[in-house]
């Protein structure tokens, strides 16, 4: 089964049709997506700024991480599920939208950056936990994270505009 035919099947399900045709459900999921954005991107920003050695420089990195990660996770889960809900409501249209595809690429880069941090410089975190500055690799991870989430917001918003012909 191709991607397109899978998405056409998904689009025809009662779940997808229900969200698509409801006046309020789509709006509420979209509102939740925006509030989740504040929680996830807003708190991730402060974590990234700590990696960049811009804020709370004298607070151990592990301290910021352990206290913020539960809330970043909550925000991420809200974003993920509300985002999936929006996608499922109109999967073929999203799939054919070039800006949606660009957003997916941005999200993949953000995920790869998080993985690279986790399997790279984070393994030596205790060595730079309280040093006066953060290592270059941590700064790169922080800067990339801020850039990717900002781009994800921009492309997420631009999906709504029909500037380009649908790809499918």
């Amino acid at each position: 089964m191709s991607i397109l035919s899978s998405l056409q099947w998904l689009e025809a399900t009662q779940f997808s049709t229900g969200i698509r045709e409801s006046t309020y459900v789509w709006a509420i999921i979209d509102g939740v997506h925006v509030l989740g954005l504040c929680l996830f991107v807003g708190l991730t920003l402060f974590w990234d700024l700590r990696l960049l050695n811009v804020v709370m420089k004298r607070v151990p990195v592990t301290e910021i991480w352990s206290r913020l990660i539960p809330w970043m996770t909550v925000g991420f889960v809200i974003m993920l599920f509300s985002g999936l809900g929006l996608f499922v409501s109109d999967p073929v249209r999203f799939y054919g939208n070039i800006i949606f595809r660009i957003k997916v690429v941005v999200l993949v880069v953000a995920a790869l950056n998080a993985l690279a941090f986790h399997y790279g410089i984070e393994r030596r975190l205790l060595e730079w936990d309280t040093t006066p500055t953060t290592p270059a690799a941590a700064k790169v991870a922080g800067a990339l994270s801020i850039s990717m989430w900002a781009l994800a917001i921009v492309f997420g918003r631009l999906i709504a505009y029909n500037w380009f012909e649908p790809l499918v």
Partner: protein
């Protein structure tokens, strides 16, 4: 008031955004980035007041860390919000209830944050926050959420 809104919509700023295919969308995207920053700067302090998040740091420390980001993002969100408003001031926003509620929430949230919450956060030196401090955080979260929700509702009315 209505004539003021009409004048704004017919100003060079309003007309140029209205006539551009991309201006509204691009400004709106920056507006949303600023929203995320406000969200983080508000939440990190309110969570701390509620005894969550950065609990090992004194509240004034967290508040001082967030302050420049809150002020910066608030300036950015107003600087991007005004041109968006100007482009359709009379024909869309004047007659949109959600827009007015958003402005009331925004005024209340901003005044509350820079007066009551600011004073409360600077006084809460002890690790455990007073009941009044927690109440302040809840009020702040309600007011700022109201701004976001009403902002989103503008497009659905």
């Amino acid at each position: 008031m209505q004539s003021l809104f009409q004048w704004i919509e017919q100003s060079a700023l309003g007309v140029s955004i209205n006539e551009s295919l991309y201006a509204f969308a691009v400004i709106e995207s920056v507006h949303l980035i600023a929203l995320a920053v406000i969200g983080g700067a508000v939440l990190i302090v309110d969570l701390r007041l509620l005894g969550l998040g950065l609990t090992r740091l004194p509240v004034p420390h967290v508040a001082r860390t967030a302050q420049p980001w809150l002020i910066g993002s608030l300036i950015a969100i107003i600087a991007t919000g005004f041109p968006l408003f100007a482009s359709l001031a009379a024909s869309k926003y004047y007659v949109n209830d959600a827009f007015w509620y958003k402005m009331y929430f925004l005024a209340a949230a901003a005044i509350f944050t820079f007066t009551v919450r600011q004073r409360v956060a600077m006084k809460e030196e002890a690790p455990a926050v007073s009941a009044f401090g927690k109440l302040t955080a809840v009020a702040s979260l309600v007011l700022w959420s109201g701004v976001g929700v009403m902002g989103r509702a503008i497009g659905f009315i």
